[in-house]
Amino acid sequence: MPILLARVDDRLIHGQVVHGWGRPLEATLFAIVSDELHADPERAELFLFAVPEGARGIVVSVEEALAPAFHADVESHRSVLLFTDLATPLRLVERGFALEALNVGGLHHAEGKREVLPYVFLDAADREKLRALAARGVRAPARDPPANAEHNPAPRGGGT
């Protein structure tokens, strides 16, 4: 089965992901792709606490995400992929990971970033990554819960 949802959300597995997306999608695997969390199992464990009953949660590094074993794991489940930033999915796609769409679900306020939507704050580097994803055929609309409308987080001429 293809990936049901790939989402960039700096809150990772939380209410909106579990209840808003995970339930209607009947997700059975929540896979966080993050080198940082993979290197910090104690912190990773905290984020996996929110995995709902009946589903499995894992944290993998970028290298692991590119391996055939991960691909097989994802394909055999109803999978949700989660990233904390735009750099990670871009790294995956640049190395051949097949991703058709990336839901921009939450990139919250940080120094130097400007509000695009209440849940999306971007800087010039983020916009560049969105352009690079688009150039590789990855749609990346912004949408928080599925009931809300999609938005283009980085329209042309939208500034830096």
Binding site: D10, R11, L12, I13, H14, G15, V18, R43, L46, F47, F49, A50, V51, P52, G106, L107, H108, H109, A110, P118, Y119
Partner: protein, 130 residues
């Protein structure tokens, strides 16, 4: 034991915490030593930082109870991750009005170790289906 009265810090989605405190105050009267942190616009790390800043702003050494709404959500997670700022910090999830009323009514009159299970009992007892 009023000088040992623990503070409350609510970490919740949107304005839920603010409204819960407002409702408690309508019932019990104005409260002090209470802070609210909303997850609005904050990343996971940003929410932890905001919660820690809120705990840091309390009277040094004062115990605190961190109430969160959804255990398996950004707020519950932040409550688990936040450092204790050198004070006793207890945590409880699933914050609701019966639980909060129990806390605000009895804090400072019974030890925190006894109050926490009472709050949990009251919170659960307030859920009745028919």
């Amino acid at each position: 034991m009023d000088d040992l009265r623990p503070a409350a810090v609510l970490v919740t989605h949107g304005v839920l915490g603010t409204e819960l405190v407002r409702t408690v105050e309508r019932i019990l009267g104005p409260q002090t030593d209470v802070a609210v942190v909303s997850n609005d616009g904050l990343s996971a790390d940003g929410l932890v930082a905001a919660l820690e800043a809120s705990l840091d702003s309390l009277v040094p050494g004062q115990a605190a109870v961190v109430f969160s709404d959804l255990a398996a959500g950004s707020c519950g997670l932040a409550a688990r991750r936040a450092g204790a700022s050198g004070r006793v910090v207890r945590r409880i999830t699933g914050a609701n009005l019966p639980m909060l009323l129990e806390f605000f009514h009895y804090r400072g009159t019974i030890p925190l170790d006894d109050l926490l299970p009472r709050m949990e009992t009251k919170g659960r007892a307030g859920i009745v289906s028919s």
